[in-house]
């Protein structure tokens, strides 16, 4: 018997709007702050809120990976780099480039596209409440990734590890002054 | 106490002590009770005359100087000359001295006082003598560099190098006299340790060392006025000035 099935989460709308509000505000702060460290902290907050959303979507494993990798790993790397480059001068410079208007226009166009897609293809989009069938999420993902019978991402997984290896080497090559 | 200059019970390298120290050690205390007013000039003459033409060429220049070395023992510290109570310096005999005398003539004066040997060297020879002391005579360790101020003399400063030779287990001092404002060649290239020691001499006496890599005050703050170890430096002046500037009152000292 699965406790998650037995107990659908309470106050879903409240938490959804809370977390999505945090995410939107965090996102806005990321792209508007002068100081890159503030941006990074805003981004971290948004990422953690997103982990909360994953939990609400019954994807605890993705949530855990999100926290460990994104908040605990990638963002630390970001902060590390921000500290290494001197920030004072960057802050004095102009923050937005000349084509900011174009950029916003492009984004607005993209947003319009989204809206039109939604308006035109309303029937394509899922509605109604999803069921809560899922029990052993982490185990299921593990099986999907690695199991010899049901797994179908084994190869992709190995490729991903290769990608990470290449990224490590690439980062070292790039950042090191003389090899 | 006389033991001190005797051959040590176990010299570090088992190096035989130079003969020069031997007569000095008992003599330091009782055996030579004052008296021998052997002027350095005399003793210089007893030495073989300089053979080298180069040294001979120097001679006229050095000739003018004997005035200084003889004046030296007297001036070594003589605001108050009265009674010759203690022992007086005696000439120092050693192969090293003989060699230097041969080459530099009267520019060099070797003496022993209380069993401690020192060379009085003319300022123009100092860099060469120091370098040769290290290279040829194995004085590889510069113990200290310091100075003494004698405001009443014309050449106000005695600058003293205290040297030690590890292979010979022997100490000696090199002294030279310079006037106020004169500078000395730096010996940092000879002994690396001279760096801070020279800085301190500069700091305290205002003696400049040419060729020093970074000659600036070391113990006193950069903005310090005057050179404290000069005899004419008023102890209170700095304090008075500070009090006047910072507190706006007369110092009570």
């Amino acid at each position: 018997m699965n406790p998650l099935v037995a107990n659908p989460p309470v106050a879903t709308p409240f938490f959804f709007y809370l977390l999505s509000g945090i995410m939107i505000i965090g996102g806005i702060l990321v792209i508007t702050r002068k100081n890159a460290v503030h941006s990074a902290i805003a981004l971290i907050t948004a990422l953690l809120a997103q982990a909360g959303l994953y939990l609400m979507l019954y994807a605890p494993f993705v949530a855990g990976v999100q926290i460990i990798l994104y908040a605990g790993g990638i963002m630390v790397l970001f902060l590390f780099v921000i500290m290494l480059i001197s920030i004072e001068r960057t802050m004095k410079e102009r923050q937005f480039n000349k084509q900011w208007l174009v950029g916003i226009a492009a984004a607005a166009a993209l947003g319009g596209l989204f809206i039109s897609v939604y308006a035109k293809g309303k029937s394509l989009f899922p509605e109604g409440h999803p069921l809560y069938p899922e029990a052993q999420n982490t185990q299921a993902i593990g099986a999907l990734l690695f199991d010899s019978r049901t797994g179908m991402y084994m190869f992709a997984f190995e490729i991903a590890s290769l990608l990470l290896l290449v990224a490590i080497i690439g980062a070292v090559v790039m950042a090191k002054k003389r090899i | 106490m006389p033991d001190e200059t005797k051959s040590p019970s176990s010299p570090p390298e088992g190096e035989p002590k130079p003969a020069a120290d031997k007569p000095a050690s008992p003599g330091g205390v009782k055996a030579t009770p004052s008296g021998s007013d052997a002027s350095p000039a005399q003793s210089a003459e007893t030495k073989p005359t300089p053979e080298k033409p180069a040294a001979a060429g120097q001679k006229p220049a050095a000739e003018a100087k004997p005035a200084a070395p003889p004046a030296k023992p007297a001036a070594a510290g003589h605001p108050a000359p009265p009674k010759p109570a203690g022992p007086t310096p005696t000439p120092w005999d050693a192969p090293l001295v003989a060699k230097f005398k041969r080459e530099y003539g009267s520019g060099i004066n070797a003496l022993t006082y209380l069993g401690q040997n020192y060379l009085e060297v003319d300022r123009s020879l100092i860099s060469e003598v120091l370098e040769r002391l290290r290279d040829e005579e194995q004085f590889d360790y510069c113990v200290d560099i310091t100075a003494v101020h004698n405001p009443k003399r014309e050449k106000q400063f005695d600058v003293v190098w205290i040297l030690y030779s590890f292979p010979r287990n022997q100490r000696m001092r090199v002294k030279t006299q310079i006037a106020d404002g004169e500078s000395l060649p730096s010996s940092v290239s000879v002994w690396a340790t001279a760096n801070w020691l020279e800085r301190e001499v500069f700091d305290m006496f205002g003696i400049k060392f040419d060729g020093h890599p970074d000659l600036k005050r070391i113990l006193l703050p950069d903005g310090w006025k005057g050179f404290p170890l000069r005899k004419d430096y008023g102890i209170l002046q700095q304090d008075n000035e500070w009090v006047q500037i910072n507190l706006g009152i007369e110092s009570g000292q």
């Binding site: 503030h38 902290i41 494993f61 855990g64 926290i67 460990i68 052993q136 999420n137 | -």
Partner: protein
């Protein structure tokens, strides 16, 4: 009406007490909140106790007495310290980034305290039981590095910055070895009939099922994994001999050099809370969590009964210790209040001990007791290390992390995987794979 209300409350409590689920899993928000508060209070009290214990134990290791003035044997010293810290002026350096400077200690504290919601003090004594419990703990505790980095950066000073860089590098690199050790333990859980689990409670239950603490499983593999974790967790919490980020002699106080008063005390709180948190992970994964010691050698109802007396006996012993020391206090009237206070404290401890002998309470509490006792042993180790070891240098620390612990962890992981492999896997995967490989070779040559 009043009695019925009381009755319903009693029923409610009773229903909870007989429940075998954690409040989070049972969806019981009231009890979950109570538990959160309890855990928070418990951890805070633990930090206070640790503060006193560390000073006393370290002092006695170092032939001195430690705090003796505030309260008998300095028992009230932590409270005095806390008051002092709270009342101190809150200084934010003029050149600091005030906002980030302000936030940083809270990030660290948040990370340190949040992990406790999955720490299993007993089969039903946890705020909640998460499907990804251990992953959650590792992830959230790794967030504290963010707080440290931002604290170091926001101070706008060289020492904190270097301290923060050191700290982040150290924590990130030791997380790797730590993760490997954890994975090997998780692999061991998969040997149970129910399959593997990441849930903290599940891990302890698997140990119970397999009738072995994982530290002894596949000897010496479990032990090595435990050792790797035990080393990595000290580095992870920046404690001696890995306390470089706050190496006093080099960086004054590392990333929290510029912090003072309340904000500094938050870092202090977080450090000790994090120490307890990682110790809890170690206890859960390898030392059988809430399970009592010697479950195999000394099993049976009698032994269960005897072991269930331990919590009460411990408190009685502590109370007796207080009385003993009270009797040794100087008889001078100046010490009268202190003596009385110590005796009263002893009496309170003794009373608690007596209460813990009550059968219903006894059974419910012994899980918590054993868990706490194991964590306390780790806490003592932390203090002991601090009294004994010199500090590693930064490059040596990195060397230990990357060149010793990481390869050992990898080898350990592979070995555990091989040893733990079930027979049908051998039959279905490994043997065919090698056969196929041999076949391939045969065809080529």
């Amino acid at each position: 009406m009043n009695s019925s209300l009381l009755q319903s409350i009693v029923d409610y409590v009773q229903s909870y007490l007989s429940s075998n689920q954690t409040p989070g899993v049972a969806g019981n928000w009231f009890w979950a909140t109570v538990y959160v508060l309890l855990v928070f209070a418990g951890v805070s009290v633990g930090v206070i106790c640790m503060n006193w214990l560390e000073r006393k134990i370290l002092a006695h290791m170092q032939v001195r007495l430690g705090p003796m003035r505030v309260g008998p044997h300095g028992l009230l010293q932590p409270i005095a310290d806390a008051l002092k810290l709270l009342l101190k002026e809150d200084i934010i350096p003029a050149e600091a980034d005030a906002l980030v400077f302000w936030i940083a200690p809270f990030i660290v504290d948040l990370a340190a305290f949040t992990v406790f919601i999955v720490v299993p003090f007993g089969p039903a004594h946890a705020v909640t039981d998460m499907n990804i419990g251990i992953l959650f703990m590792l992830g959230v505790s790794s967030l504290s590095v963010l707080g440290i980095v931002t604290a170091g950066w926001a101070s706008n000073s060289h020492y904190p910055l270097i301290g923060a860089l050191r700290s982040s590098a150290q924590m990130v690199s030791y997380e790797v070895a730590m993760g490997l050790a954890v994975v090997s333990a998780i692999m061991m859980t998969s040997l149970s009939a129910e399959g593997g689990t990441l849930s903290m409670i599940g891990i302890v239950q698997r140990q119970q099922e397999q009738q072995v603490w994982f530290v002894f499983k596949f000897f010496p593999l479990g032990l090595v994994a435990f050792a790797i974790f035990a080393i990595a967790m000290i580095a992870e919490t920046n404690r001696a001999p890995f306390d470089l980020p706050e190496a006093e002699s080099e960086l004054t106080a590392g990333f929290h050099t510029e912090y003072s008063g309340f904000r500094w005390s938050l870092f202090f709180l977080a450090e000790y809370a994090a120490m307890m948190a990682v110790s809890s992970i170690a206890v859960t994964l390898w030392l059988g969590g809430w399970l009592r010691p010697f479950p195999n050698a000394l099993h049976g109802a009698t032994w269960d009964l005897i072991f269930s007396f331990f919590p009460g006996l411990t408190f009685l012993f502590l109370g007796g210790l207080c009385f003993f020391n009270a009797s040794r206090m100087p008889k001078h009237p100046f010490f009268k209040i202190q003596t009385m206070g110590l005796a009263a404290f002893g009496a309170v401890l003794g009373l608690i001990g007596l209460v813990l002998f009550v059968p219903g309470i006894r059974e419910r509490v012994q899980d918590i007791f054993w868990f706490t006792a194991k964590v306390a042993a780790f806490m003592y180790l932390y203090i002991w290390y601090r009294g004994t070891f010199p500090r590693y240098r930064f490059d040596q620390l990195m060397k230990v992390g990357w060149k010793v612990l990481l390869p050992t962890g990898l080898a350990l992981l592979i070995l555990t995987a091989v040893v733990a492999m079930r027979t049908e896997v051998w039959a279905e995967v490994v043997v065919p794979m090698w056969l196929g490989f041999a076949d391939l070779l045969r065809r080529i040559f």
